[in-house]
Symmetry: D2
Subunit: 391 residues, 4 copies
Amino acid sequence: MNASSVQAFLSDDIIARCGERASKYDRENTFFTEDFEELRKSGYLTIAVPEQFGGRGMTLADVCREQRRLAYRAPATALATNMHLYWTGVAADMRKMGDSSLEWILREAGTGEVFAAGHGEAGNDLPLFLSTAKAQKVDGGYKFWGHKIFGSLAPVWTRLGLHAMDASDPKAPKIVHAFMPRDTKSYTIKETWDVLGMRATRSDDTILDGAVVADKYIARVLPAGTADLFVLSVFGWAEPTFASIYLGLAERARDLAAAGVKKRTSLALTRSMAYHPEIQRCFSEMQLALEAASAQVERVAHEWSIGFDHGMQWPMKLVAAKHNAVEAAKKVVDLAMSVSGGTGMFKTNELERLYRDVRCGGFHPANTILAHEIVGKTVLGIDLGEQPRWG
Amino acid sequence: MNASSVQAFLSDDIIARCGERASKYDRENTFFTEDFEELRKSGYLTIAVPEQFGGRGMTLADVCREQRRLAYRAPATALATNMHLYWTGVAADMRKMGDSSLEWILREAGTGEVFAAGHGEAGNDLPLFLSTAKAQKVDGGYKFWGHKIFGSLAPVWTRLGLHAMDASDPKAPKIVHAFMPRDTKSYTIKETWDVLGMRATRSDDTILDGAVVADKYIARVLPAGTADLFVLSVFGWAEPTFASIYLGLAERARDLAAAGVKKRTSLALTRSMAYHPEIQRCFSEMQLALEAASAQVERVAHEWSIGFDHGMQWPMKLVAAKHNAVEAAKKVVDLAMSVSGGTGMFKTNELERLYRDVRCGGFHPANTILAHEIVGKTVLGIDLGEQPRWG
Amino acid sequence: MNASSVQAFLSDDIIARCGERASKYDRENTFFTEDFEELRKSGYLTIAVPEQFGGRGMTLADVCREQRRLAYRAPATALATNMHLYWTGVAADMRKMGDSSLEWILREAGTGEVFAAGHGEAGNDLPLFLSTAKAQKVDGGYKFWGHKIFGSLAPVWTRLGLHAMDASDPKAPKIVHAFMPRDTKSYTIKETWDVLGMRATRSDDTILDGAVVADKYIARVLPAGTADLFVLSVFGWAEPTFASIYLGLAERARDLAAAGVKKRTSLALTRSMAYHPEIQRCFSEMQLALEAASAQVERVAHEWSIGFDHGMQWPMKLVAAKHNAVEAAKKVVDLAMSVSGGTGMFKTNELERLYRDVRCGGFHPANTILAHEIVGKTVLGIDLGEQPRWG
Amino acid sequence: MNASSVQAFLSDDIIARCGERASKYDRENTFFTEDFEELRKSGYLTIAVPEQFGGRGMTLADVCREQRRLAYRAPATALATNMHLYWTGVAADMRKMGDSSLEWILREAGTGEVFAAGHGEAGNDLPLFLSTAKAQKVDGGYKFWGHKIFGSLAPVWTRLGLHAMDASDPKAPKIVHAFMPRDTKSYTIKETWDVLGMRATRSDDTILDGAVVADKYIARVLPAGTADLFVLSVFGWAEPTFASIYLGLAERARDLAAAGVKKRTSLALTRSMAYHPEIQRCFSEMQLALEAASAQVERVAHEWSIGFDHGMQWPMKLVAAKHNAVEAAKKVVDLAMSVSGGTGMFKTNELERLYRDVRCGGFHPANTILAHEIVGKTVLGIDLGEQPRWG
């Protein structure tokens, strides 16, 4: 299972170059333009696109492995690229399951379109299921108003996935899922992205001010609060890939820390700090966290890839994997810092960035708050939509 | 991976009957005699013995699954039986790897011999690697003196696995591994087993007072402090099976707790306690712990079963899986108690026993203390035998 | 602050004798009769009663200290006795604050009456504030129906504190707080107490089947869901004393564990197991937990004793102290077990009982589930009574 | 205990102004010059200096309270200032205890000298007790070589506390503690300070290249590895003040988070996010952590201030308080981030800085690694100097 039957796609060289650029992007708060161009040229953006559409046809498990390798050196690059990759994976897997409604995504991705996700919103703790944005049916499409946040790949996307509420029938509000072409009118990107970590993703705001998206780019119109294969597939691809990115980041932190303690000496020890029992204990805790989270994430990705039927347990399985991976990664990075004895705090030390990058993991949907609700209710056999929500 | 290609061996009926007897064994502190006879008759004691020796040829992964099912209802029965099962698995897998030195275990197990483990000792925090017991070469075998503890299956074993130190050459002390037949002279079983949990295992003391074991039952003579395939295989079989037992126990606790909160109501809620958000949070934490530990344990068992080569990482992989599984199980049972609102404390409630049984998991080797050392040192590339041990 | 200006009340001898009897009470599941008689004769039951009523006038802080000393050796004895002690403390402090409505408790306690608490109920997650029991006004008093659980001191109480709902006006249900004399008719004590830990408390069920309590023993009639000084004072006395009992228990576990590791040796160490760094780490975690929880509990007890005004923060302060103390104690006992290397599991080892006793701490009100609600809402300035409860 | 008999020293206005400047210092990585000048003018630098030397004579408990207030808005300012404050406190308390050897510090501080700490070193996990720097007795003083790190207040100190090893007698190496005047020759300050958090402290490196310090500025010459009142007093003042700074920081994070959730709404809630039960749970965990750590830190500061005799327990008490406070603060800030739903990640949000600042707490001596050793060994009655260190 560790061993892969599929050859790695990304060359170690590309990953190394991305790794070398990471600290500059972070420091200057700029988009990972050179990385993106290298990845694009290498064909990385179509690894999840089936071969007949010009891609590599990699499964979710394959993509997780690649993303984890990339994130080991360049987590922000992997994270932003993930937004595109998961849309192609969603479309590919839905098609494999017999739903070709998003086949156009595969065709367009095959010819170079770049997809991104504009689902983040303030004032909505159930992302995808509800929306503060407004959708209105117009001739030949839908018109959108709203304020979207966390829109990674802002400088380069050509199709922005987004959703909004059509409440024209107040008794039956609907969620409209659309992909807005870059050349659409009546929207603006607001450069707000100056944050703690994962800075190179440039996850700027998007203001929709009556932007019209044609019917062919309307992916779904669903009753508000409900999920179908489309929504499930978004979680199916997003959670394990997010999780893999943070695992890669954590493995990097552990390895940097290990290299560090092997070089550090102390007057009160006969050998390096690697022989300090409390340091060893810290590495034990790192590894115990990684062993569990790795197994869980790889298993979920594998099960999704082979079409395993978890039925109603799928959302729980997916968010649990991402939640545990991110919590493990936070723990690992914190311990890596501890054993660094303070050197990890310096801007010249990669750990300093990893400590900031890792914290972002808790915010991708399902965030910590929502993950507990999904997992807890699922175990108890309670539908997420049951009202009242609690009590 | 959840789905098994291999059919379950134990019938639900047998497991249910073991479950029904569990509380009586616990209350009366008696050996699980009826369970043992049923399991023996069913062929359960030879599931890991290859078919040509009269067994079922189940892999470690298969055995883990069976033990987890059994432990779901009768954890002490599964735990004691495990001592026998792992010896048969060790012998089977060594043979598969080309080392037939323990083939006799398979033959004897196939004809009804019952194996147990007499490795527990006070005054030795590196079990298997060192020993407070003394071995002396005599004509045709070895003679043993020592005090062994935690000897599960005391009433029924016919071959007791044990180890002792032969320090006749003080510069090169050796560990002698033997299997002592029940009818050996000069040993006594001391009925000391009256403990917190896993009471039905009857893990009594064994006092070796010059007991002689013939050469054919001497499994290994190894330099003290070292491991070979034999020692590794003991960990290979013991850790994942122990882990699976505690996972089964934890799943039972979760399910009992879930059934409980669905029945409990409260004046301050409109529905059952299952709709209390803090109760849901507790189940989320239980499930998050189980998802990770299950994936890790099943993966390690699978990797061992397919002969995956983890090289020097194997001991770490094995003890990490057991450690995480036991810690997860302790957490789950504690949370199951919490949501029971106090009813779980009553002797009439199975949770009461599970709370006691689960605590034993931390003591099987590698215990918590040693697990951290093995994991931490392995991550840092430090050999467990390096001296001084720390500093 | 560690140092006390007040001399200890209980002699070391009495405590030692209680400690010697503890394991027998536990094993035989019997009430702590001999302890109770010794404590009664010593005057311990009136330490919180003001001197003018024949007591010692000890403050909450003093009583916490005594209970902690007693619990160090005999936690169940301290816990059951606590039910009586806190009622006397409640009455004393209310009187000090100018409310003499419970002065009769002080007089009666001074002349030997024994108070207990019958507030535990199934089906009510807001103890004291709501009730599944029914109260009906009758001539000269109230009549009660209901099923009370967790009634410590069942064999010896002469006044059972209890509460029930008078819903005669459905729009304005009221909670009636009463103290039922032992010789009341129409109630029965059902001997259900056979549980995991704190067995000597004999916290049996009480079935109220139309029991009539005279007006003079009606302490309060309050709107359902509300608290006044009486209710606050119950928390004021119960939480810090409960907390102190579990701290005493935890200190005992730590000390037993420390004595144990100093005696245990290992072949792989040059000195005792106290020199094993991972063992030291376990003691560090125990002590870190105890330092924090001790300071918090002693501070809250002191602040209550001096009449510090925490205003609306008081309930939060009180339940937070008890919650943290119990969680710390659970952690300490678990670590004490870990370092025992398995010997702590034997019935002959006091740790075995402490491991069972400590788990009860989570169930005393406010239990873990409720504690989080009280603390979280208080920090956010949300009244516990606000409806809907969440969302 | 919460209530203070001593009036606050710093005005809310000064603190507010420091708070307003904090983000600029952080962003531009500059020293808190304006804050420092305001604090100096206000007399803050002499609050711990006895009145007869021109100060305010505040106790450790008082100083902790002031530092916590200041850190609530400007943690880096409080932290750097702390280096000066603790030296004055050390000198004042030693004098109170009858040791006037550092009285000159009080006189000089009274006349405007600024003290700092140059004890941080790479390659030494037992700070203060050993040193990688070299001291050599010369006529009229000592000569120093070495590389010191984490030297807060680099731009403004006039007396740098430092220590080095005099190994002229290899059998009896000694630690020389000195205060180097700013105008000393043969040392350089290297501007290395560009780090994760607490950036305004400007904790640059100091290279000692034969710097000579006159005898009058030699505070102590102690056998290596030992402590006396001087060393204990450094811990006595440093630990509780460090702890208080991180508590202040954590309280700020909690309060910002609470204000945030009260303003945030969600489509799936009828009221603000403050009514989301999982959000409430997060605040419960924050408060539970703060209640315990606050009580512990305030207690230790109080006990030190009143001269309570903890004997050999003092080092444990001190580092335990700092350790628990920092761990609590890290937890609080992480939870504050969680409930921010992502807004806390933006550079415009103060939480973003607090998340970075708080991580520094683990590195002040005694760091996490050392704290466990001190606490664990103390509980077990093992002297920190016993050799071998473990095993």
